[in-house]
Structures are given as structure tokens and as C-alpha cells.
């Protein structure tokens, strides 16, 4: 291949690459865009009676007079956890991680504590938990 031909082909390929990037960037931006969605879960007073209450992916727990909400998603790979009232522990059915009732990691591959979900208490006793999807 002559030098002139080589340079000519090289320039052509650079233009193709630039063209591909110009097309690919908006395409990827479009494909990966998702509107942030928030889900509100309301625990009415009659749904707060147990020590551990569950509704739509959230565990609402009571410790003394204090309430706190935990996500039911395992911090390893996101499977929903099961609560065992006897041992008072959360366990993952997929890879076997175990957490205590406060959400603290005890064993298994997860390594991280469960996520605490922000919540607010209304005057009428409703507890509103907001999770971002």
C-alpha cells in the first residue's frame, strides 16, 4: 500500500469513527434515559401494630417507641428478603445473606447493612415511606 493510499484510508476511517460516535451518543442517551419515579407507601395506624410490618417492599419496624423503615431488598443483588419471627432475622432466598432486625448484616455475601428508607409521621398517625425507583 502506498503512503498516500494509507493516509487516505486512515482519514476515511477516522471520519467513519467520528460519524459513528455522533450517531451513537444521542442513541445511547435516549436508550438509557429513565424518569426518576418515587413511590409512596402509607402505613396506617392499624398497620403498625406488630414489631415487624410489611407493605410493598418495605419493612416497618418498631423498637420501643421508635419506628424505622427498611428496604426489603438484599444489599447483595436485590432479592426480596424473608423475615423469620423466631430468630428475628431477615434472610435472602437467593444467596443466603442474613441480617438482624435492625438491618445489620450478619453473614453471607451481602456485606452491607440493609438500606434505611426515609419516613415521616403524620398527625393522624400515618407513617409515609418514600422509595425511589
Amino acid at each position: 500500500m502506498e503512503r498516500r493510499e494509507f493516509i487516505g484510508k486512515g482519514i476515511k476511517r477516522i471520519f467513519y469513527a467520528i460519524g459513528a460516535i455522533i450517531l451513537a451518543y444521542p442513541a445511547f442517551s435516549f436508550m438509557k434515559f429513565r424518569k426518576s419515579r418515587k413511590k409512596r407507601i402509607i402505613f396506617h395506624p392499624d398497620e403498625q401494630t406488630s414489631i415487624v410490618n410489611f407493605k410493598k417492599g418495605v419493612f416497618l419496624l418498631r423498637q420501643g417507641s421508635e419506628n424505622y423503615a427498611l428496604s426489603d431488598r438484599c444489599t447483595h443483588l436485590g432479592c426480596s428478603l424473608n423475615y423469620d419471627p423466631v430468630s428475628q432475622r431477615f434472610s435472602c432466598p437467593c444467596h443466603g445473606s442474613v441480617f438482624d432486625v435492625t438491618g445489620k448484616w450478619l453473614s453471607g455475601p451481602a456485606k452491607k447493612d440493609l438500606y434505611r428508607v426515609p419516613m415521616t409521621k403524620k398527625a393522624n398517625g400515618d407513617i409515609i415511606v418514600t422509595i425511589t425507583l
Binding site: K32, L77, P93, C94, H95, P109
Partner: protein
């Protein structure tokens, strides 16, 4: 390399596989008339199984024909591998065929997710979080395949029903050209799969919100599910399988000594994964 004589396995197996693929596509087209990837997918699948006339039959027929196709393609590839036929392929051809086999498994996986039951939902969730665990690009890469929320099943549906089957057929079009007019294989395949779908009823699906002690992934990922217990998600879910596929891909490119070493390495890795899978099937992952 001297030409290798075709055995019965090498001749009939891919033809039966192609029959299973054709039947799988036909039953899949029928199922798309009722299946909806939005809303309550579990309920939709249950309606197909219990309410829609012959729904149970088409669901089971689609399931078994897909499974048979991929299993036969795996055996077909193993047959080529053991007879060292990859040496007669160009690197490009071998690459496309191995890529096609990977696509086959991904189609099966998306089908597993689309059941919408607990197993399917968790499998999708795990897949999404493995992708998210990839440093830097993980978050946006995962959004190209699966997203949380109401659209959870939508992208796997697009991949399962449109992108991947079209890509698969495009990639293997040259390879299957000589098998196409085999009516005997088509008839035998149809008869066997028809009987299976008629006799074996679909297994009972567990609702996504039910509590169960253990959830198993699809049979071909049980080994990975076991590895995920002890390794980082990216290592167990992407790096190790990716490295295995890469070793298979470069096989025709290697010289004699390296080629032999790589051949035994792939064989050992495959056997180990097989043992891990059987262990998980019997005792759980």
C-alpha cells in the same frame, strides 16, 4: 487437517435443533397474542396457563422447544469441540457461531425472567444488579437491558421476542442453509415436542410476593448462582463466564502447543461448571 467423517450425531442433531427452533418461533408468535410485559405479568402468565384455550399447551410447547433447541446446540458445539472441527473454521465464522450460542442462552434467560413469577423476577433483579456492579459504566449499561419499576419486563420482552431472535437467525443464516429442507427432522421434532407439551403440565409458578426459603435461577446459571455466594458479582457473573467464552473464541487462533493447553483448560472448566451445576440441582445453589 484431514476431513472428519460425519457421524449420526453430527448429522441429525443440528437438524433436529433447527426443527425445535422453527417450532419455538411459531409457538412464540402465538403466545405474543396474549402475553403482555406490562402490569401484572404473573397474572397474565397464569391466565395464559389456566384461562386462555390451549394456553397451557402453547406455553409448554414454547418452553420445551426453546430448551431442546439450546441443549441440542450446546451438544452440537461440544461435538465440534471434541472433534476439533473448530480448526476448519475461520476465526470470524467461529466467533459468530460461539456468539450465537451465547445469544441462545440469553434468549432462554430472558424467557425465564418473562415468566413473571418469583424465580423470574429475582433472576431479572440479580442480572440488573450484576450489571450495575460494573465499575463506571454499570449503571447506564444496565438500563440498556433491564430497568426497575413498572417497565421491569419490557426490555427483556423486546430482547426475547424481537432483537435476539432476529440477530440469531441473521448470524446463523449461512450455517443452517444446508439443513433447511429436512422434513423428517421437522416431523420427528414436532411429534416429540407435541407429545411432551401434551403430557407434561407446566409447573406451578410461585407468585412474586410469596415467601420461599430458596430461589433457584435457570439450570444453566445455577453454577453462577453458587459462585455468586462466594465471589464479587462482577467476577462471578461476568468476568469468569466472559473469560471462558474468550478462551473458546481464540481456540482456532492458537498454535499447536498453546491450542492443546487451552483445549484441556476449556474441557476442565466445562466439567467443573457441570459439577457445580449438578451440585446446585441436587443440594441447592
Amino acid at each position: 487437517m484431514p476431513p472428519i467423517k460425519n457421524t449420526k450425531v453430527s448429522t441429525y442433531l443440528p437438524r433436529l435443533g433447527l426443527s425445535a427452533l422453527i417450532l419455538c418461533l411459531i409457538s412464540g408468535i402465538i403466545l405474543t397474542f396474549y402475553y403482555r410485559p406490562m402490569g401484572n405479568v404473573f397474572q397474565n402468565v397464569e391466565e395464559i396457563t389456566t384461562l386462555v384455550p390451549y394456553g397451557w399447551f402453547f406455553r409448554q410447547f414454547h418452553y420445551i422447544s426453546g430448551q431442546v433447541f439450546v441443549i441440542l446446540m450446546l451438544i452440537h458445539t461440544l461435538d465440534h469441540f471434541l472433534k476439533k472441527r473448530y480448526l476448519s473454521y475461520s476465526t470470524g465464522q467461529w466467533f459468530l457461531l460461539i456468539l450465537s450460542l451465547c445469544i441462545c442462552f440469553f434468549v432462554l434467560f430472558t424467557g425465564f425472567v418473562l415468566k413473571g413469577d418469583k424465580e423470574g423476577f429475582f433472576a431479572g433483579q440479580i442480572f440488573m444488579n450484576i450489571l450495575r456492579a460494573i465499575p463506571i459504566a454499570g449503571e447506564w449499561l444496565s438500563k440498556l437491558f433491564i430497568v426497575p419499576g413498572e417497565d421491569f419486563f419490557f426490555l427483556p420482552y423486546l430482547y426475547h421476542c424481537f432483537f435476539l431472535p432476529i440477530l440469531l437467525i441473521y448470524l446463523i443464516r449461512e450455517h443452517i442453509r444446508e439443513w433447511l429442507p429436512d422434513q423428517k427432522a421437522l416431523f420427528a421434532g414436532a411429534a416429540g415436542l407435541f407429545l411432551y407439551a401434551l403430557i407434561v403440565k407446566p409447573h406451578v409458578d410461585v407468585p412474586p410476593d410469596a415467601a420461599v426459603d430458596m430461589v433457584k435461577g435457570p439450570w444453566f446459571f445455577l453454577g453462577i448462582q453458587t459462585l455468586l455466594k462466594i465471589m464479587h458479582p462482577v467476577l462471578a457473573g461476568l468476568f469468569i463466564p466472559g473469560l471462558f467464552v474468550l478462551c473458546v473464541l481464540i481456540l482456532p487462533k492458537t498454535g499447536t502447543a498453546w491450542g492443546r493447553a487451552l483445549y484441556y483448560l476449556i474441557t476442565t472448566a466445562f466439567c467443573l461448571y457441570g459439577i457445580l451445576t449438578f451440585r446446585a440441582i441436587i443440594w441447592g445453589p
